[in-house]
């Protein structure tokens, strides 16, 4: 069967060119999953945000400003989750050397940074009518500013190193050490200044929890932001894989010409 033989050979060469089997599988899988992910993201975000903006009542103490939580809380949640995902992906890269993992961590950093900025901006805008100032050195605000600095350093290190594997290794080490220090900073900042933020509004403790009318649309908004993060990371990881392969092919062409 020459036909089948040729396809197998072609596929083998393809795998060989990629030099890692994993990215091929990832491209295949993410290509299949992306349309569904995009649809789910749009649907969930639309439900959460439209519900949150148009169909929630005002809160007794906060008036309509309570509507800010539908963008503030999900973005803050994703800012931390994104860093956590980068930490896990970095560890997987350091231990198992899966290239997709390193690239996914790289892909997640700008998304996490934007989420951190959104959380900071919406927090500041909310702070103005609530606390009478755009910026207070409240522990949570301060922690997010520190998290933002960590994101900046992480992305700068990726940008500064030319060799992709060295960059992946060093940024992974930074992510691991940085996580410890980010955690430590959180406690240091708490110790340094007791804050203005209201207590755990999202804790599972029913008595402290905010009422269901706010909680349900917020749940949708959070799921929507989470899906948005996954979708963007998928797309960005695919971009990184393509860039890396283009680069490898360019080198090969140049070697063939020489």
């Amino acid at each position: 069967m020459p036909e089948m033989h040729r396809t197998k050979q072609a596929r083998d060469r393809y795998n060989f060119l990629w030099e890692w089997a994993n990215p091929v599988k990832f491209m295949w899988f993410s290509g299949l999953a992306l349309p569904w992910l995009v649809a789910a993201t749009v649907l969930t975000m639309a439900i959460g945000l439209i519900w949150g903006f148009f169909f929630t009542p005002e809160a007794a103490n906060f008036g309509s400003s309570v509507k800010i939580i539908y963008v503030h809380v999900p973005s803050a949640f994703m800012a931390i989750s994104a860093w956590f995902m980068m930490l896990v992906a970095s560890l997987i890269w350091l231990i198992r050397r899966h290239h997709v993992s390193a690239l996914a961590a790289k892909a997640a950093a700008p998304v996490g940074t934007v989420m951190t900025v959104i959380a900071l901006i919406t927090g500041a805008i909310w702070g103005e009518p609530m606390w009478g100032t755009y910026w207070a050195w409240d522990p949570r605000l301060t922690s997010f500013l520190i998290l933002f600095l960590f994101y900046l350093g992480y992305m700068a290190l990726w940008g500064a190193i030319e060799d992709p594997d060295t960059a992946a290794d060093l940024t992974s080490v930074l992510a691991v050490v940085g996580s410890v220090f980010a955690f430590l900073s959180r406690y240091a900042v708490n110790f340094w200044n007791q804050g203005l933020h209201q207590g755990a509004t999202l804790s599972l403790d029913q008595e402290e929890n905010i009422a269901n009318v706010y909680w349900l649309p917020l749940l949708f908004a959070m799921a929507g932001f989470g899906l948005l993060f996954v979708t963007l990371v998928f797309i960005r990881t695919r971009t990184e894989i393509r860039k890396r392969r283009t680069h490898a092919l360019e080198l090969r062409e140049r070697m063939a010409d020489a």
Binding site: I68, V71, I118, T122, P129
Partner: protein, 52 residues
């Protein structure tokens, strides 16, 4: 449009900032993805052309 009362500015600004930043991120991601795909397809086509 719901009645936002005295907090209208704060609510609208924070939503505008959020949606604007997310839109920016999506557009950037999309543009980069398109460019990477175009570059990749171009070099792939060149390689195929050489082989045959």
């Amino acid at each position: 449009m719901p009645e936002l009362g005295k907090y209208a500015d704060a609510v609208l600004w924070s939503w505008a900032a959020t949606l604007g930043l997310i839109a920016l991120l999506i557009v950037m991601t999309w543009v980069q993805s398109r460019k990477a795909k175009a570059d990749h397809d171009a070099i792939e086509a060149r390689r195929k052309g050489k082989e045959s």
